[in-house]
Symmetry: D2
Subunit: 296 residues, 4 copies
């Protein structure tokens, strides 16, 4: 099976590496060359233009956001240059609106399209342990399943309409940001009564909330360690806004999302551009003026 | 060591049973007799008035709420009838205001006071696996530690000011309700795109959020099983309001709590009085008019 | 007609003065003496204890809040010392819960009870131009109408259940605080684009929102003049919380009130204890970090 | 002076009519012909293509939204076909992002650009009594001032950056929607206590809030008259979202806007597509389940 892979950031590189390691012939393309060179050293063929990566059986893409996907596939014309009969597996966290548009544009051209956003950070991707959502035409999904299984702890099928996988990814990220804001507000409250965030969060993340999200972000909050970002705060805001957009399109109010959006915006206004989502804790502390209080 | 236990609801009965099983001489009192009879059959001495249970080394109480605690200890005069030198271990989920008041009233009378609210449902209490928060004078806490260890998976010390344990309990319950509302809103969103709540929640509660709270309430949401209540919705509202009160007293804004309060109130307006907190899912569905939509 | 008046703050003094000026025989009582002396100079008889003011046909009271009303009428025993057949006209902004309780307690004792909260500041009260809400038994209201007309631009009858007038007063104050928060947020937005608050508010308060609330608080925001307070910020928070309580009792969610509560709390955390409600503008500015931004 | 006018909806037609009545030679263009014919009968010259309306001294446009403005001026190429030296006066309520883009695109081509959004409904436009915001290069504004004065009760200059007038318009509309939601929530609260919306709103809109917005929408709420729409609910949602977008671009949190967005979305989910913004009252009533309650 001939496989292409477009978009070699930390996630894409790890995913493509696993495909190579599993024995697939992989042709890669990336906007900048350095990442592609590294994949070449593992055995990938490097394409100089994206259409060269799209001549085969399956094309994976893991681009940063709506804009990058639009630029490559729509404005850049890649859709019109793809091998007929190829299946495009889109791993990006994109809007449901773009997912719907891509689904239509692929169908018009007789191209297969599978939405396959993932949960997991680069180290999880490197270990081939991602949770991979899948949505798309059943035959297309069947065709790419062996490839996805190389990357995944588990595949989670969400039906035939591709945007379903995207809305699930956005809903999941919305839940992540809510969990962090929840720890942030709760810690500010307990801290105002003299209980340190570390004590409070150790309790919570080892009992009722003993799960990766609470443990990971909880640790960062307890240690006041907000950089370098694992999940960059501006990307969290982007995803909350995409969840709101998805809600708007189908008229689903999301009251928690409104709170998250404003807390994230306040974090950015206060200079958290380069910080992790855990920096929401700083907003809760400033809102209650905790630092000032402790000083006096 | 002579031990008293007041308040024999499902939680209190299980906790007192474990003290008896561990060999302590336990005198129990409860407003209604049936629960006390059951403890008597396990070896407890039954007191006809609360003051009879308060003649010993330690008095545990596990009453329903602020009002019940006030009625027994303050208005009912129990504080003035307690054995001098006794330590009162209060397990109830009460307001920080009442915790502060009780702390003062005990101190005035030379009585020991330890706040020891717990996390865990009756089955966890029966198994002696509660997570027990403790806050109070160090010597008083030391004295009651062996008793608490009988009930606990682990003790979590929160310092000397008793209200610290209470604010931590309230902050934890606030996080529980937030987690449920988060699943409720996210499920409504994915359902509007055709993804069933069961599929979505199975994914979330087995991956990023693989923890008791998400798994327990998530299952109830996925199965639309809202009665009988494990954590009754009106009690969840009570605790969110106590968290807001605690925030108000120390000027800590809690934007998520405002959202929770209104969703819970809407649930009650819609008739969820006898339902579990998981019934927040119904509010998110009605807000998006999902039933109507699916019918048409 | 013999009239008593209890509670001689700025509002009560102005209202009592108008009753005296209209020719009524007025006996006044106040916790501290200075205010009573001033009324004496206008012709009032000064009572040394509240019950002496309650021997006549009508007793007006204008106390600060629930606590003050409870202390005088319930805990202080005034209800049991009032002239049988007297009608008590309660002008205070109190909770609906207390209004209901007072209504019952008066009824038990055969005393008349009229809720008559007012809209208007001290200067409006002095001019006899208040808007006076009335609710209570029709005969009781009829009896006190001539007195109320002395103080009022207009009477606004709200039915027989006394708490109706109180809930209307609280709903009105909720609308006032919302209007201020609305100007605060909108001004922060326009200011971030370089439009001064003064320009923006001059436009709004002279066109679409040409009304006393927007003009009064708008002027304060435009001029950044937050002290001395006209409507003190902590009292605004108290009233928003009473509106929430009233909503809770009848299960009416008030999403805007949740936002107001947190903004007001943040204002207090930032030191606005002695400021006017208009200081909500400072919270919106800090939330967007406008000062920092303009400095850089 | 030769004047063009593009976009002849209810507002545009009224504004163009006033220019004709004031003696200006006006060439009009509209997507559909009927509206243009009516203007022709008043003396306008009808252009068959938009560029024919753009050959003169000033071009006014009053198009529906961002999309319509983009289609005509950017995608449709009108910008490239305009008379050099013409000043374009854009009356539409558009995003600040589009306002900034248009400002740049006009500047690149040496064309004048003035943002001039208006407050006022069609009847106010017909009477030449609009409140007209202006922002743009001072000479351009000076040139078009006589034309704007024909339409206006008053001009409100907001500086040279065109988007300033747009952000003020959006902030104003945000305040309008907040005022309506405020009446909606407050009326639901008082109605739960038995006070009719009509009584409550008559009080508020004749005293503290005696201004056009509260009186107009208040009357609609009191009379439960939600169609035909004066200000259509979906347009209100659009404007709240544009205010949020403007806040996002400059990192200004707008907590009230989050509440408004969800209430409006819930209204649409419940079928208020064709209703007026006043239909927010229905959402508050459903949230408290008032109808059900009254029935039982």
């Amino acid at each position: 099976m001939k496989v292409g892979f477009i978009g070699l950031g930390a996630m894409g590189s790890a995913m493509a590496s696993n495909l190579i390691a599993a024995g697939y012939a992989v042709t890669v393309w990336n906007r900048s060359d350095a990442a592609a060179e590294k994949l070449a050293s593992l055995g990938a063929k490097v394409a100089r233009t994206p259409d060269r990566a799209a001549q085969g059986d399956v094309l994976h893409s893991m681009l940063a956001n709506d804009q990058a996907v639009r630029e490559v596939f729509l404005d850049g014309g890649l859709l019109d240059a793809m091998d007929p009969g190829i299946v495009h597996v889109n791993h990006a966290t994109i809007s449901v609106a773009l997912a719907r548009q891509l689904s239509e544009e692929h169908a018009k051209r007789g191209l297969g399209y599978v939405s396959a956003p993932v949960f997991g950070r680069p180290d999880v991707a490197a270990a081939g342990k991602l949770n991979v959502l899948t949505a798309g035409d059943a035959r297309a999904v069947d065709k790419v399943r062996p490839l996805l299984e190389v990357m995944a702890a588990k595949l989670w099928p969400m039906g035939e309409a591709p945007e379903r996988a995207n809305v699930v990814k956005l809903a999941g990220n919305f839940m992540i940001v809510t969990a962090i804001e929840s720890m942030a507000e709760a810690s500010a409250l307990t801290r105002a009564y003299g209980v340190g965030a570390a004590d409070f969060i150790e309790l919570m993340s080892n009992t009722l909330f003993a799960s990766p999200v609470y443990q990971g972000y909880g640790k960062a909050i307890a240690e006041q360690r907000f950089a370098p970002p694992g999940f960059a705060l501006p990307l969290g805001l982007k995803d909350v806004m995409l969840a709101q957009e998805a809600g708007h399109a189908e008229r689903v109010p999301l009251p928690l999302a409104g709170v998250l959006r404003d807390s994230l915006l306040q974090a950015l206004a206060d200079g958290a551009e380069g910080m992790d989502l855990a920096a929401l804790a700083l907003v809760s502390e400033r809102r209650a003026n905790l630092d000032q209080r402790n000083r006096s």
